[in-house]
Structure formats: C-alpha cells, structure tokens
Amino acid sequence: MIERMTSMERMIAVLTGQKPDRIPVNPFILGFAAKICEIPIGDLYANAKKSFRAQLLCAEMYGYDSTPMYAYASFGAWEFGGEIGFPYEPGQSAPYIIKHPVETPEDVDKLEVPDPKKAGSIPIAMELAKLCYENKMPVVFQVGEVLTTAANIAEPARLLSWMIRKPDVVHKLNKKVAEFFIEVAKYFTSTFGADKCMAFTGGPIESNKLISAKQFEKFVYPYMKQIHSKVLELGVNIILEHPCSDQNANLPYYVKLREELNWKGKYVWAFGPETPLEKQIECFGKYDVIMGNVDPPSFQFKSFEEVLLLCKDNIERGIKNPSGYILGVGCELPPLSPPINVYALIKAAREYGSFK
C-alpha cells in the first residue's frame, strides 16, 4: 500500500472517529528502542535526550505511529523518597527498586506528598515531554495506577498483606498517591496546555493474579475515579489505560468508571493478551478506542511468519471495533526480540489493515 497519511494524521484520525489510511501501530516499545540504537537500556530511563532520540529513531525506522513517552512499572518508590536503580547491567531491562520509602505504618503517616517539580523521575519525564512538545508531538504523563505505585512505595508483599491486616493504612497511602498524581497532572497541563497532553496509566499490581475484583473495588476504584475525573476536568481529552496482565475480573469496574464519567473524553484501552478483543469491544466499543494486545513473549521467541499471523489475527478481530482500533502489543515489547519480528507489526498493518 502507499501511505497517504503521516503518523500524526493517522493517530488523530482514529482518535476523532475518522478512517485512517491504515490502522496505526503502537507497539509499546521502550527498552527495544535502546537496543536498536545501541545505547544502554539505562539511558532510556535516565537520560531524556537519549531516550527521546532512540524512541524517535526506532519509530521512524520501522514506520510505526507512537511518539516517545516516559513511564516505567516501578514508578513511585523514588518519587516518594526511596531509591531506584537504572538498568545498566547486563540482563536488566527496566528500572528496579533499591529502597522502598515506606516500611512501617508510621512511615505512611510521615510520608509527604512530594513536589512534582522535583520528585524522582519527574524532571526526566518533564525534559522528555518538552522535547515532544517542541517537536509538535503529544505530551504523555503518567497518573497511575494507584495500587501499583503504593506497592512500589511500601514493597508489594507488605502492601498486599496490609490490605487485610491494616486496610486503613493502605487507604491512607493510596490517598497520598492519588493526591500526588493529581499534582503531576496539574504540573504537566499547566506547562503545556491540556490540549497538548495525554495521560497514561496502568499497573501490574492491580492484576487478578494478585488481587480479587472485590479488592480492586475497594482499594483501586475510588482513587482511580478521583484521578481520572480530575484529569478530564483539567481538560485532558485522551487517557491511555493499560490494565496490565490478567484483569478480566476487574473489567466491570473499568466499565463502571466510564459510565460514571459519562464516557467523557476518549480512552484508549490497552489490555493484556489475557483479555479477548471481542470482550473489550462489547464493553467499550461504542465510545472508546481499543489497542491491540498481541502476546509480548511471542515477539522474542516465534518466527517472523508466526508473529505476522498473530498480528493479522489481532487486526482482523480488533478492526471490528466501531470506535477505532490501533495495532498494539499486550505489554512492553520484549527488548530482546529479533528486530525482524517488530517489522511484522508494520507489515501486517499495511497488508491487512488498510482502508480504501
């Protein structure tokens, strides 16, 4: 096919309910971009300029449509006064926590909501955001998920057992985390203007491999709703939501969130491979965009032909979403994937996802 649109035009078309020339591709590439550009993965998280450049060049080289962003799963520990390490050692692929700022319930009482201008990785995220802004790309900032962030602050096992032993402490911590994310949202929207911003949220600790739907309702839902309402109220129109891993049991609460927000704004749903596209279309298809969820490990281990087939299948199912579909991967694309397998995404989008 001959491409008739730029990446930006293509994304905007989908987000405004129009037909693009082909479905856009957002492969959730972070560490892989560093590999392609032969810089350490650490730089992708520690150095805004190098990160921006690597993400941009990788996207240009393949022709996929997402723009650089800054986010990682261990977010929260450093921002609230702990310590993280950047992945510079062989085998490491993302930031990791060295010291959790909270060890006791008393620490939660003492914990102060940090100033977003100075907190942990936010200055790096802000520097990358400025580069996006200067290059007329959307600014993406991270606003959750609450429980994952709280777990990064207090150590996951400790936080999970407090959910039963000391639920009040968890609520106290979640409240501070929500307050912080709202401050982050204010900081980014006041710097760039809300219309230039997109919010990103998501997290693995919310997964039903760890917590039940009832626990999600109690410990996640109220804070998620508070943050999302505020972000929309600030004028941000697009929220990219990534319920990581198996969150099938939490689905009703994501639907409830949209209903209670009167389907305000445009959500882009990026569920894990465990949630069938058909189910997502049934839940959100009337209003929201759905991002594909091709199985991440397959990119590392399967052949090009097999990956191409997986992408084709994802397109054929996702394209049925009345409110738009973006081809995507169910979580971060494994950084060690053979480079040719990433091309399968673009090839599939061109061959099986073009519109006349």
């Binding site: 560490g31 261990s74 992945p87 050692e89 062989p90 085998g91 490491q92 692929s93 990791y96 926590i97 996951p156 096992a157 999970l160 057992s161 959910m163 039963i164 032993r165 039903n208 491999k209 760890l210 917590i211 039940s212 626990q215 049991a249 991440p296 490990p297 590392q300 281990f301 494994p334 950084p335 060690l336």
Partner: protein, 212 residues
C-alpha cells in the same frame, strides 16, 4: 480435644491466616504430646496445600496467602524447638532466587513458603541475583537443589549458563526452574532437572528429585 482435631484446627488457622489461632493450636499440639514434625506436616503444611489449591481456583488471592504465611510461620516457631533430631537431619536444602535483572519476587516467595511448609530448608537469595551468587551459594551450602525463578523472557535467558556451571562444579546438585514464561520444554532445553508451574508443583518436583 483429640489429635486429629488439633491438626485440623491448625490447618484451618493457616488457611484463615489467623495468627492467634495458629499459635494457640500449635501450643495445644505440644501439650497433647503430638510429634512436632507431624504437627507441621499434617497441620501447617496441610493448611498451605489447601491455600495453594484455593489460589489456583481463584478462591484466594495473594493478600490472603500472605496472611496464611504469617499464621504458618507463627505456628512453626512454636513447634520447631520440639522437632526431633532425626527429622531435622533429613531436611533437604534448596538455594532459591530470582535471576539477574528480574525483581518479580512474589511468586518466588510463594514457592519458598510452600517448600518450607513441606519441610525443606530454603536459602533465599532474594531477587536480581547475579549468576555467580547462585553458583557460589550452591557449592558453599552443599545444596540438594537450586531453584531459579524468572518472570520475564528477557531475564530467563541466563538460566542455562547458571545451570551448566552448577552441574560442572557439582553434578549431584539438582536444578529446578519456574516462573511465567517458562515451560517444561524450555526447562529441558535449559538443562534443568525439573519445572514447576506453581508453588505446589514446585514441592512435588523437588520431592521427586531428592526425596524429603
């Protein structure tokens, strides 16, 4: 209260994650003259077996399991001093950890818990463990088994190196692997002696390899 009932209550306290109840029935077990080893195996460990079954069925989640663990450890603390020398001597030793570059340790901790409940002595190296550390500790501790956990396709690739080196230094040490992206096929390819898809399988495999 009879022996069977005390053991049943001990298991129940473990499942409920009720620390007080677990401690109280551990004490009763001793008072009633129940062998400590039997109390651990048919009380605490039986409770943990039920817990892990309930997790697989989606009837219990990780927060509840962590409370069960607390109850189990509290009871074991009471019972351990009463263990007879011969039952301690037989304890098999496992060096366990999450491989380099990987900090996903919730699954590894559940495996540790189930192995301890089943009577193994676990030397926990934690997470993001360098290859050399596994090798060094396996030899130094004269381990019966080394257990490697990895949750990411990016991190699991170091496993074959670790396994190969351990086998070279001491071919008698068995190796088992587990974690999301692994499979029986991959375990074989990596040269491991065993694979477990969850914590209760980890125990079964470990037992089948070294007895205990």
């Amino acid at each position: 209260m009879g022996k069977e009932e005390i053991l049943k209550k001990l298991a129940e306290a473990t499942v409920l994650g009720d620390v007080e109840m677990a401690v109280s029935y551990a004490k009763r077990a001793i008072e009633a003259g129940i062998d400590a080893y039997e109390a651990i195996m048919n009380g605490c460990a039986e409770g943990m077996r039920i817990v892990s079954e309930k997790y697989e069925k989606g009837e219990m989640y990780v927060p509840e399991i962590l409370c069960s663990a607390e109850a189990m450890y509290a009871a074991m603390e009471i019972l351990r001093p009463y263990l007879k020398a011969e039952s301690i001597g037989e304890r098999k030793k496992i060096v366990l950890g999450v491989v380099r570059g990987d900090i996903h340790d919730i699954g590894k901790n559940l495996v540790k818990l189930m192995l301890e409940a089943a009577g193994f002595q676990v030397i926990d190296l934690g997470k993001d463990v360098p290859n050399e550390k596994f090798i060094e500790m396996a030899i130094k501790e004269n381990a019966d088994i080394v257990g490697l956990s990895a949750l990411m396709t990016t991190s699991m690739v170091v496993m074959p190196e670790v396994i190969k080196e351990i086998k070279k230094r001491n071919p008698k040490i068995k190796t088992i692997v587990g974690g999301g992206p692994l499979s029986p096929e991959l375990a074989k390819l990596y040269g491991a002696d065993g694979y477990g898809k969850d914590a209760s399988e980890a125990v079964k495999v470990a037992k089948s390899l070294v007895g205990g």
